[in-house]
């Protein structure tokens, strides 16, 4: 033991390294490299496995999958136009509610309207909003939100029933409460990224504007927001990606009807909730069709997310 210790010291002084240690060192490097590589492989295998699973349905339906609104496991006829409409419209409702609230809150948190400590608490609460499990939002939605939106929806229908979006009488689960729950779930992303984009602007911009005699809000509207707009847009895109892929809250509230209806007061369905609802009990071609739908969802969110990341990186590059 002592001998090997002393020989180690000798090696150190000579600047030589034992072959075993050298192998260990290289081995460790290669091990970390292999794990890093596995991340790429996981991503690729997700795409491959879903594409392979979807293949029978792709062969069977091809593009009629996107023009057909009939989803019928009994006759093995599948089409996704209704659920794509549901995904798009529920995400759109979420964005319409969440963008003004989120950007407003982000401005409120990035300016010094209130003391630093209170702001830290508010930022923590917003993060908490993002961490609440979506199934809890779903449960809350069923018992608290749906009764409220049904009252609101009835009012909408009574007063604006001539408008196609409000043409049916609400009976509970529908696109409207689902969109609202989605908006709650994407608010934290919009707030966090908008706040980051506003905070990363160089202080000279603000000082120059204030120095010219602009008020704080003139500075915000004419200088800060235009300068941060691409970051804010990137955040909104990321939020859109999240809203399209969000599953549980939507599934529990949207009503899971595969019938295509224009009205947002009617029960509807999204791609994600269609999969969540049917996958466990599906068999044969239905599994394949659900995987096809999953592939569509994955491609949609992938495009939106990559676009979002590109936009956000653009802003970072501009001011760093």
């Amino acid at each position: 033991m002592t001998q090997s210790d002393s020989s180690n010291t000798d090696n150190l002084m000579m600047g030589e390294r034992s072959p075993l240690e050298k192998t260990l060192d290289n081995g460790f490097k290669w091990l970390t490299f292999a794990f890093a590589l596995s991340i790429g492989l996981i991503l690729i295998s997700i795409a491959v496995i879903i594409a392979v699973g979807a293949f029978p349905a792709i062969k069977q339906f091809n593009f009629s999958f996107f023009t057909n609104s009939n989803w019928n496991p009994v006759t093995d006829q599948y089409g996704v136009i209704a659920v794509i409409y549901g995904t798009m419209v529920s995400s759109l409702i979420a964005l319409i509610v969440a963008i003004p609230l989120g950007v407003g809150a982000a401005i409120f948190l990035s300016e010094d309207f209130i003391p630093e400590q209170i702001r830290t608490v508010l930022v923590f609460l917003v993060e908490l909003l993002a961490a609440i499990p979506s199934v809890v939002y779903g449960l809350w939605g069923i018992f608290v939100l749906i009764p409220i939106t049904t009252v609101f929806g009835t009012w909408l229908h009574d007063n604006f029933g001539w408008f196609p979006l409000f043409s049916t009488t609400p009976a509970g689960p529908s696109m409207l409460p689902a969109g609202i729950v989605l908006s709650i779930m994407i608010l934290p992303i919009i707030i966090a990224i908008s706040r980051d984009s506003l905070a990363s602007l160089p202080p000279d911009l603000r000082q120059a504007s204030l120095g010219l005699g602009a008020t704080r809000w003139e500075t915000i509207f004419r200088v800060l927001i235009p300068a941060a707009i691409s970051g804010i847009m990137g955040g909104i895109m990321l939020a859109l990606g999240r809203a399209m892929g969000e599953t549980m809250a939507a599934t529990m509230i949207i009503g899971n009807s595969n019938r295509l209806s224009i009205s947002i007061l009617d029960p509807a369905n999204t791609i994600a909730s269609l999969i969540a609802n049917q996958f466990a009990e599906a068999s044969g071609l239905q599994i394949s069709a659900l995987m096809y739908a999953g592939l569509v969802l994955m491609l949609l969110t992938l495009i939106v997310n990559i676009l979002a990341e590109y936009i956000v990186n653009q802003v970072k590059a501009k001011y760093e």
């Binding site: 150190l12 390294r17 260990l24 060192d25 490097k29 970390t32 490299f33 794990f35 890093a36 590589l37 596995s38 991340i39 790429g40 996981i42 991503l43 295998s45 997700i46 496995i49 879903i50 392979v52 699973g53 003004p100 950007v103 407003g104 809150a105 409120f108 508010l122 923590f124 609460l125 908490l128 909003l129 961490a131 609440i132 499990p133 979506s134 199934v135 939002y137 779903g138 069923i142 018992f143 608010l187 809000w217 003139e218 399209m244 892929g245 599953t247 549980m248 529990m252 999969i275 969540a276 996958f279 466990a280 599994i287 659900l290 999953g294 969802l297 969110t301 992938l302 990559i306 979002a308």
Partner: protein
């Protein structure tokens, strides 16, 4: 009147510009309040509804048959621990070592850039897609069937991006000097990383892993067709890992849509446990990151 306006640098509080500013300030404050209302509403209902059902039985007994009272959700609590445990065993080594490669050995090469990009893409993958992936990889291929393992794999995929990112960040904060110091006294790269850098970054890594665990415990979508659900106690032998297993989040989902009051109460109680988990980990994580090693 005109002279005072010109003479003073102060904006008059009655000028339309200032009034507009005040209105906008109020509006942005209102946005902040409206944002927090759902959070408070969710927390309020979960605590009120869940608390009334909180008792010892909740943690020691099986769920009651539909319509009957009493019982608990012990099997779902155990199931969540098992499934999340499997996910942690899979995701932590992969995630931490990937981050070690990215921050210690890659020197910012193209491969590292693409792996960081892949991590970001992975974090944007909807959770239900991770479920289909685990299903296709393990269940439909016949390797294990609906099981705790399949559920764990799906959750691990979802935990990976968080672990990689937080570890990457935590490693970046470790001062370069201590690496030089370690290498300077003759340490190998792996010794520097394993004995010096990783321990220094440990608080940040643990925080990231804890947050990822809290997130994964609440995930439902990937579990409803990988781990499925079970109304019974999980099998204690290793056989239990390849059988369908109950989890808290799936229990909340299944019971929320049942028309029976006792089941709905259990759903609220399950939500309370999940929310408490998230709340506790967020606060602990916040306190842990405050302490710095260097």
């Amino acid at each position: 009147m005109i002279t005072t306006t010109i003479g003073s640098l102060k904006k008059k509080s009655s000028s339309p510009r200032v009034i507009l500013g005040t209105i906008m300030t109020a509006l942005s404050g209102l946005c902040m309040i409206l944002t927090l209302i759902p959070l408070i509403a969710v927390l309020f209902f979960v605590f009120v509804q869940g608390f009334s059902r909180l008792n010892i039985d909740l943690f020691t007994q099986l769920p009651p048959p539909p319509g009957l009272d009493e019982g608990g959700l012990a099997n779902a609590i155990i199931g969540t621990l098992v499934v999340v445990g499997i996910a942690v065993i899979l995701a932590v080594p992969i995630g931490v070592l990937t981050a070690v490669y990215l921050s210690e050995f890659s020197h910012g090469n193209k491969f590292a850039t693409s792996i960081r990009f892949a991590t970001n893409v992975l974090s944007g993958v909807p959770s239900i897609i991770a479920g289909i992936f685990a299903f296709g990889l393990l269940v439909s291929s016949g390797i294990v069937g609906f099981s705790a393992i399949a559920g764990g794999v799906a959750l691990a995929v979802l935990m990976l991006p968080t672990i990689i990112r937080t570890t990457d960040e935590a490693l970046k904060i470790v001062p370069q000097e201590i690496r030089w110091a370690a290498l300077g006294v003759g340490a190998y790269n792996y010794q520097t990383v394993v004995q010096i850098v990783l321990p220094a970054a440990l608080p940040g890594i643990v925080t990231g892993v804890t947050l990822a665990i809290a997130r994964a415990a609440g995930e439902t979508a990937p579990l409803i067709f990988t781990a499925l659900f079970s109304n019974f106690w999980p099998n204690v032998s290793p056989q239990g890992l390849v059988e369908p297993i109950a989890t808290l989040s799936v229990l909340v989902y299944n019971f929320a849509i049942l028309p029976f009051k006792p089941q709905q109460e259990l759903a609220w109680a399950g939500s309370l446990i999940l929310v408490f988990l998230v709340l506790a980990t967020s606060i602990i994580a916040r306190l842990a990151t405050r302490r710095k090693v260097y």
